[in-house]
């Protein structure tokens, strides 16, 4: 599949990039974040273009992309499920929630269902510890979960 680079053009157009200066690379992470928002993940073609346009070596671009948990090199499903594995969630049964999702969707942490409807990720803490255990689907937070709640919640996204 050919990647349309037009979206990346728009992202780069609005930025005043200080090429050649020491600060040039400081735009790298924000540009990658916006690109991922636009493309859903970070395809190789996009990364190559980012490297050329920001004048940051492709090795550094890949270094950054593979370092931070937020960046994805492969496409994710339509709905992104984040299960919180923070300490508060952990001691209040977060692992059972994750197990249940894995069982219901037949995927493991970091995987996407074959129909590309769901991607499952675990996150270190979403900061909703008072409502633990917590999961987030796209932008909606669900708290004080029991593993029985999971099925109903997932049905809403099918």
């Amino acid at each position: 599949m050919r990647i349309n680079l037009k979206k990346l053009d728009n992202i780069l157009k609005d930025r005043k990039i200080e090429r050649g200066s020491k600060r040039a690379s400081s735009d790298l992470i924000p540009v990658l974040q916006e690109a991922q928002e636009a493309y859903g993940h970070l395809p190789h073609e996009v990364l190559k273009e980012v490297s050329l346009r920001l004048k940051v070596p492709l090795s550094q671009v890949y270094g950054v992309v593979t370092f931070y948990a937020q960046f994805r090199l492969s496409p994710s499903g339509k709905n992104l499920i984040k299960v919180c594995e923070g300490t508060a969630c952990h001691v209040r049964g977060g692992a059972a929630i994750k197990k249940r999702i894995e069982g219901l969707l037949n995927i493991k942490d970091g995987e996407t269902t074959t129909d590309y409807k769901f991607t499952l990720e675990t996150v270190a803490c979403v900061g909703s510890c008072a409502f633990s255990p917590v999961m987030v689907v796209n932008k909606q937070y669900y708290g004080k979960l029991t593993s029985n709640d999971v099925e109903d919640i997932l049905k809403r996204y099918k």
Binding site: V56, F67, A69, Q70, A88, G103, A124, C125, G127
Partner: protein
């Protein structure tokens, strides 16, 4: 928006705002922080429309607000000036709140907090045990002002500390902060005034100030709540800091997992830029300052200052050896001062009341208050702000209402993956940087997780090590390989394959990792191991020698079965079992097939008759 060219403009506008606000006799706020997970957006909408439809909107003001702290009771609706506290509100309750409380001046009893002792209703915020023992200085306006409104912040006196500071010499400001005794709230507790002085004295024309909002400790959400509930207080502290150290540019590094905090900060920065609180020649003082928001990308190590700087520069977030400290050579090699969110939020208080007044609160070596996020197996979960030096017992039992579900207190975990577990015998210790360090934990950024007898300390330690091992950036060997080795040993113990020498190996590894790692992440990673072996050695030994998990958590060491005497044959467990390991017909006794059972605990959770037993 109006632009303020000097402090007089600001004060005149403040008068206007206050005059406008005084036209309302009642203020209702609805939490739009964590309570959003339980439908508080709909409640706010409904409340606004109900007030409008009933033509009360000339006298009654309905507002969105940030987190008020008592998350356990969310969604919260607060009514001022009386200070009525309604919790666990649903959309359906809205017409009744308006009809009864607003129109007829009566309380809706079922939404009130009831005293745990005599079930007496407690209508007012200040009388609720959860709030009574707190001292809310930083959180004072959280839950009361609209975090997206600059007017609201000005109404409660916002940016008057900035105006006051800009009239004084930078050196005086630093002195004031030194007198206050404020120490960094990020965890290490370095004196803030001294940090500012070091950066101010460093040689260089360009300097930077950074707000560390990369609150990565799992189980902590103080900074999130401050940013979401009162972002201007952080900005104000930061601008004052910039002025004091001679920086004209600031960065706020927020973790990407906090989208709402980022959005509210963006709004706050935009409004300050539009009114001249940020930009060139602020309030006619000749001082210029701008702020950029940088989103983190999901790396715990970026909370470490040199890693955070690398991340802002667009690199992998890896720390580097210190010295040179950021105060000498930080962002792009320039002198840089990094402070935590809560530290900055304390600054306006110090400038307004004076450092001497501020230092009257707190312990001998640590002044002021500290916000904790109280979570885990505790009745009242939420945000708690207390003077430093308050006893652990007061926070957990008085404010927190004790252990949840009537279970037994085992320990309290403070400081996240860098901290440790403090057992019951130390509950009367005052909370401050030094005392917690003496008992093998740290105060940290403020996570406080209560653990009960159903928490396995070995498994919890395993959890923390899997976290640090995963988040280790890999630059230095002791941390990269050491945490992995520790994790392997802990895994072995939880699997029931532990040997006696494992504990000695763990202690030896812990010491080496602590002494030789490059940054704080590695140096503190062994703390959970050290503190749990120190206080809960018997639990490790039961795992190793008896191959049993006393808390019933470690899967390889436990079995699930159904107590025939208690089973009613309701089939609920069988229906919910994800692997079909439970056999049985309606109204007949059920049985768990041990071959198929994956020990997920769903049956235990679903059984209404306590018939599922773990051994």
């Amino acid at each position: 928006m109006k632009k303020f060219f000097n402090s007089e403009d600001l004060e005149n506008y403040r008068k206007e705002v206050r005059e406008k606000a005084s036209r309302f006799s009642t203020l209702i706020t609805v939490c739009q922080g964590g309570c959003k997970a339980f439908g508080s957006e709909e409640i706010l909408e409904r409340l606004s429309s109900e007030v409008r439809e009933r033509r009360l909107n000339k006298k009654v003001l309905v507002k969105m607000a940030g987190c008020h702290g008592f998350c356990e009771r969310g969604p919260l609706v607060l009514i001022f000036p009386k200070g009525i506290f309604y919790g666990r509100v649903t959309v359906k309750d809205v017409p009744e709140i308006v009809e009864e409380t607003i129109v007829k001046n009566r309380l809706v009893d079922r939404l009130l907090v009831h005293s745990p002792k005599d079930k007496e209703k407690i209508p007012l915020i200040d009388q609720i045990p959860f709030y009574k023992r707190q001292m809310r200085l930083v959180l004072k306006h959280n839950g009361r002002i609209n975090p997206e409104s600059l007017d609201d912040y000005l109404e409660v006196g916002g940016y008057s500390a900035l105006a006051k500071a800009l009239n004084r010499k930078p050196g005086d400001i630093i002195n004031e902060v030194k007198i206050s005794g404020l120490r960094g709230r990020g965890g290490a507790g370095f004196p803030t005034g001294l940090k500012w002085e070091l950066t101010a004295r460093a040689i260089g024309d360009t300097k930077y100030i950074i707000c560390n909002a990369d609150e990565g400790d799992p189980g902590a959400f103080m900074d999130r709540s401050v940013l979401e509930g009162n972002p201007h207080s952080v900005l104000e502290g930061m601008i004052i800091g910039g002025y004091a150290i001679g920086a004209n540019e600031g960065y706020i590094y927020v973790r990407a997992e906090y989208p709402l905090a980022i959005e509210r900060l963006r709004i706050a920065v935009e409004k300050c830029e539009a009114t001249g609180i940020l930009g060139e020649n602020i309030l006619g003082s000749g001082f210029s300052f701008s702020v950029k928001i940088k989103e983190g990308a999901g790396a715990f190590v970026c909370g470490e200052e040199t890693a955070l700087i690398a991340s802002i520069e667009g690199k992998r977030g890896m720390p580097r050896p210190r010295p040179p400290f950021p105060a000498q050579s930080g962002l792009w090699g320039k002198p840089t001062c990094i402070n935590n969110v809560e530290t900055f939020a304390n600054i306006p208080l110090i400038i307004l009341d004076g450092g001497g007044e501020y230092s009257k609160v707190g312990a001998e070596k640590s002044k002021g208050t500290k916000i904790f996020s109280l979570t885990g197996k505790v009745n009242n979960t939420g945000l708690v702000e207390v003077p430093i030096g308050t006893k652990l017992r007061d926070v957990i039992f008085e404010i927190g209402g004790g252990v949840d579900k009537g279970r037994t207190f085992k320990a309290v975990q403070t400081g996240g993956p860098s901290g440790g577990c403090i057992p019951g015998e130390y509950l009367d210790l005052p909370i401050d940087y030094e005392t917690l360090a003496e008992v093998g934990s740290i105060m940290g950024s403020g996570g406080m997780i209560v653990l009960d007898d159903k928490t396995c300390m070995v498994e919890l330690t395993h959890y923390f090590l899997s976290f640090t091992q995963n988040e280790s950036c890999g630059k230095c060997t002791p941390c990269r390989i050491g945490t992995k080795r520790c994790l392997e040993i802990l895994e072995k113990i939880t699997r029931g394959e532990g040997e006696e020498k494992d504990l000695d190996d763990l202690l030896e590894l812990a010491k080496i990792i602590k002494d030789t790692s490059l940054c704080g992440l590695g140096q503190t990673a062994p703390n959970p191991i050290l503190s749990t072996i120190r206080y809960f050695k018997d639990e490790y030994e039961t795992h190793i020698k008896d191959k049993k998990c006393p808390a019933g958590v470690c899967k390889a060491l436990i079995k699930y079965y159904i107590d025939e005497a208690k089973c009613k044959g309701c089939t609920l467990c069988a229906k919910n079992c994800p692997v079909g390991a439970i056999a049985g017909e309606v109204k007949k006794k059920h049985m768990i097939s041990l071959d198929k059972c994956i020990k997920c605990g769903v049956c235990l959770e679903t059984c209404k008759f306590n018939a599922v037993v773990v051994e």
